[in-house]
């Protein structure tokens, strides 16, 4: 059976409960759904952040997330994946990204959700710019994010 995959990049906020309901509607084979949300922080490295602006590479961002989803489906017996990534300006407390992974048993869903987030952070073409009291600056990539993606054993 083809695993249903939903990938959306949007400016609008998302509703986690509605996304889970859409994923599980009419399904009796799903025994577990793991949900990860990334949320805009109000401070980074001790400095206040007033807002974030997310830029992306239209077309490639969807393609790249799709490649990660296909890889997750190869590695684990997942039965549904939803990835929603917001772009535009976000305030502290706002949702940024949602990953849902469904499976018959919980372990595949936990693993796939973690894998997708690690891969997305290191490889999906999105960039954050922070607004701080002293101006705006592009967020620098963290080596730890590359390391998190690398531990899954594929470049």
């Amino acid at each position: 059976m083809t695993v249903p995959v939903t990938i959306r990049i949007q400016e609008a906020d998302f509703d986690i409960a509605a996304e889970i309901a859409a994923m599980t509607k009419g399904r009796t084979d799903i025994g577990a759904v793991v949900s990860f949300s990334g949320i805009c922080r109000g401070a980074d490295d001790g400095d206040d952040v007033a807002a974030l602006t997310l830029e992306h590479y239209p077309g490639m961002a969807e393609d790249e997330i799709g490649r990660h989803a296909a890889e997750a489906i190869k590695r684990w017996p997942v039965t549904g994946l939803t990835i929603v990534h917001r772009v535009g300006r976000m305030l502290p407390g706002d949702n940024i990204v949602l990953v849902l992974a469904a499976s018959a048993h919980r372990q595949a869903a936990f693993s796939a959700a973690e894998f997708l987030m690690d891969y997305l952070k290191a490889n999906a073409p999105f960039w954050k710019r922070e607004e701080r009291a002293d101006g705006t600056r592009w967020v620098e990539a963290h080596d730890r994010d590359d390391a998190a993606a690398a531990r899954w054993g594929k470049d």
Partner: protein, 83 residues
């Protein structure tokens, strides 16, 4: 070929995208970065640390030694910070 720039690479060059026709000896991603760097101050600033720059060929991640022949769209951008 169409070239696209994102985030601070876009800001430094001052363009979102452009069409370029590099000479035949510009064979790889790395060659193209060198060729573009010579186009002006903004380009030189954007590509001042080539090892930091990430590249996509036709919307797939590429490496400095990837050949560019046949590519329709090449994008240059900083390391990604989504999620």
């Amino acid at each position: 070929m169409k070239v696209k720039y994102f985030a601070w690479v876009r800001e430094r060059i001052g363009l979102e995208e452009e069409t370029v026709e590099p000479p035949a000896e510009v064979a790889t991603v790395s060659d193209l970065i060198g060729w573009l760097s010579a186009r002006g101050e903004g380009y030189a600033f954007a590509f001042e640390k080539p090892a930091v720059i990430r590249t996509a060929l036709d919307r797939t991640h590429a490496r400095p030694d990837t050949p560019i022949a046949g590519a329709r769209e090449i994008a240059f951008f900083p390391p990604m910070t989504g999620g």
